[in-house]
Amino acid sequence: MRKTILTWCLAVAMAILPLTAFAEDIVIVIGSEPTTLDPHAADDGGEKAVNDNVFETLMVRDTEGNLGLGLAAAEPTQVDATTWEFKLQPGLSFHNGEPLDAAAVAFSVERMIDPELNSEQLSYFSTMAGAEVIDEVTVHIKTSGPDPILPARMYYFMIVPPEASQADSFAEAPVGSGPYKFVSWDRGNEIVLEANPDYRGGAPDVSKVTYRFIEEPGTRLSTLLAGEVDLVTNLLPEFMGQVPQAASMRGLEHPMVLLNADGGITADARVRQALNYAIDKEALASALFEGQAQVEAGQLLGPTYFGFNEDISAYPYDPGRAMALLEEAGAAGGEITLVSTAGRWLKDRELTEVVAGFWSAVGLNVDVQIYEFDEYLQRLFRSEDGQRADAIFVVSGNELLDADRSFSAYLAPSGFGASNSIDQLEQWITTARTEIDLDARQALYEQVVEYAHEEALLTFLLNINNIWGMSERLSWEPRVDGKMFVSTMSVE
């Protein structure tokens, strides 16, 4: 009897052991399940987290955000105002053996802009008008107007195999060219990728990666503490001390407050400057984010974004100055409306409330209005009649790392979320959008930054870090763009 029990125990142990023996397998927890694995269809963080490992792009960025070469063999060149030439590395292929050549790139471009696909990513690529194959490794990408940032856009644009991507199953079982191959997708539960042994430069260290999807931050934390997983995204700053390892990196999110330059109490530039001086950004970073945030450099851009102006820095915390400015503008004790939402961005409500607190401290009467997201969006989007709240809290994210996206949205008067009607800004930003001479373009953006800063069109706040929780055995360097390339990870 005892012997049978022992035998059984052994059998069970042997059945369990192989599952845990492969140390080079890792599990990553992401916040939301991909809606599709078609890399062209959705604008969706979950999809990107997985597909960044399966697909590749012409251009890449290093961990700091500097643009470099991916599938491209050389820096792209401009043939004429509306044509960019890309040279591919020779001999590339997809996981299914299809060649990754100029034809595949041209096909991918046409696919993305096809109205039939109606891609959610189109706002990143709307300048693309078509592509032309020159020879096997040379492709011309046409743009509808001059587009100086096409190379930066290409870092976001995944190249798909012409044949496999036309199959119905492509959105559920993608075929790419990257260091990992798709294995399986158990909807609601997990996605599994395996290392591509034929990847150029050799197979990556981690041989198999499983993605799980957990929205609840507390549950995400406990999977890591229980040793079930190796990497969790979006760890809350207050949990950093509890996890085996934490990694933190300046991220892409810039919370800020749009100030209405067209009317109300904020029409006076001195009031807008006062609102900037009144806020202790260091205190926000340390109290709300446990120090896991940087004071935003007064321009909505990170240091590696195209357009960053090194001469501009944050408004210092100077409540005395703020009060003096308010007095001068005749706005002391005035009333100001601050519109915001809750639960959409990390600590959005808390940030709004603390900002309101700082403004109250310099004597303003702050009316905080927090709306459900859709109600909030109605107020954020510029309406026909131009009526705007005095101050609107918003978080700007900029995946392209180029000034155009943020400035066109929040500073150019034609932008959906702009709170000013300054023609000069519109002109600068529109010119810069199509300016091919990079120095001239940089100069234009520096002008915009300086102007917006001086006029205090926004209340600049912070640049929030991305935080990852990691198991003891995982080693990995996080990146500015938040991408998780499994090929850069290893386990002991």
Partner: protein
């Protein structure tokens, strides 16, 4: 009996029809899906294109007619968020919720009935007092917090069970317990009070006086006469689990069921998916109710519906 069932069925059909109307109106009141679903920086042209694709640019009456016609043949359309037929998503997720709910209500009944009976045997006794205290505790703990507490205790401290996700039976235990405990505490109070009433009834005294063994009095006669109220509360709890609590608990445990999907659909403003989930859930509630009525009738043939 068959007249009784027929009656219940057409009442169910009316409920389902009104749910169709209410869901249609509600999902169109909660906001503009185009604004929420596209990235903030999307251009007006893209918004117009997207709106046309969803059919949201057409008159509301036309949208309603199309909607009712499609629902009649169980065609719920394509999810805005996942870009595939909604019916496919529901078919994929519903089994997980059904499994979780059934196991949870089974846990709850199996705990509540014995505890309630034991408590009723000696009202104000030690066991009774403990049961009442536990019930009050169970009633006042929010479920998401209870779930996290279970994870900390059973997964982190003891390491017995996985924290989240779906897989083997071990994945099922914690979410099912989290759903079962609050339901159990409410049921135990009903079982207790009904049993106290029954045990004080005249027929129990007669049975005792005639010398029937105490366990038989309790387990066969008193419990059977308490069956209808117990069934009512159990059915009520089951409906609450299926149509509400799974939303919270599935989110905490990342359990891939309909409740979690409903939350995701709301976050992504996927009104096509959301209205289908609400519709399917309401059908489930109607079906459970009809099932309960039939059970009542089987337990106590004196029960009539709508005819008194």
């Amino acid at each position: 009996m068959s007249w009784y069932i027929f009656n219940r069925l057409w009442q169910g059909v009316i409920v389902v029809l009104s749910v169709v109307v209410v869901v249609f109106v509600l999902t169109r009141l909660i906001g503009d899906p185009v604004r929420v679903m596209l990235p903030l920086e999307a251009t007006p042209e893209q918004r117009a294109l997207f709106e046309a694709q969803l059919g949201l640019d057409r008159p509301i009456l036309e949208q309603f007619v199309t909607y009712v016609r499609d629902v009649a043949v169980l065609d719920f359309g394509e999810s805005l968020w996942q870009r595939r037929p909604v019916i496919e998503i529901i078919a994929e997720r519903a089994p997980a919720t059904v499994l979780l709910s059934v196991v949870a209500i089974a846990f709850a009944v199996l705990m509540a009935v014995p505890l309630g009976v034991v408590a009723a045997l000696r009202p104000e006794g030690l066991v009774d007092r403990i049961v009442v205290v536990i019930s009050l505790l169970g009633l006042s703990i929010p479920q998401f917090w209870l779930g996290l507490l279970f994870i900390v205790f059973f997964s982190l401290m003891l390491g017995w069970l996985p924290t989240s996700g779906a897989g083997g039976i071990d994945h099922l235990i914690l979410p099912a317990l989290t759903l079962a405990l609050p339901a159990m505490t409410r049921m135990v109070m009903v079982v207790r009070s009904t049993m106290i009433d029954q045990l004080n009834a005249q027929y129990v005294k007669v049975l005792r006086a005639k010398g029937m063994r105490p366990w038989r009095v309790v387990a066969v006669h008193a419990l059977r006469n308490s069956a209808v109220p117990i069934l009512t509360i159990a059915g009520w709890e089951f409906i609450r689990i299926v149509s509400g609590y799974t939303v919270v608990v599935e989110t905490v445990f990342a359990w891939p069921g309909l409740g979690l999907t409903a939350i995701q659909a709301i976050e992504r403003q996927d009104l096509i998916l959301l209205q289908a989930i609400v519709f399917v859930t309401s059908i489930a509630v109607v079906v459970i109710n009809i099932g309960l009525d039939i059970l009542y009738k089987a337990i106590d043939p004196r029960i009539e519906i709508g005819s008194q």
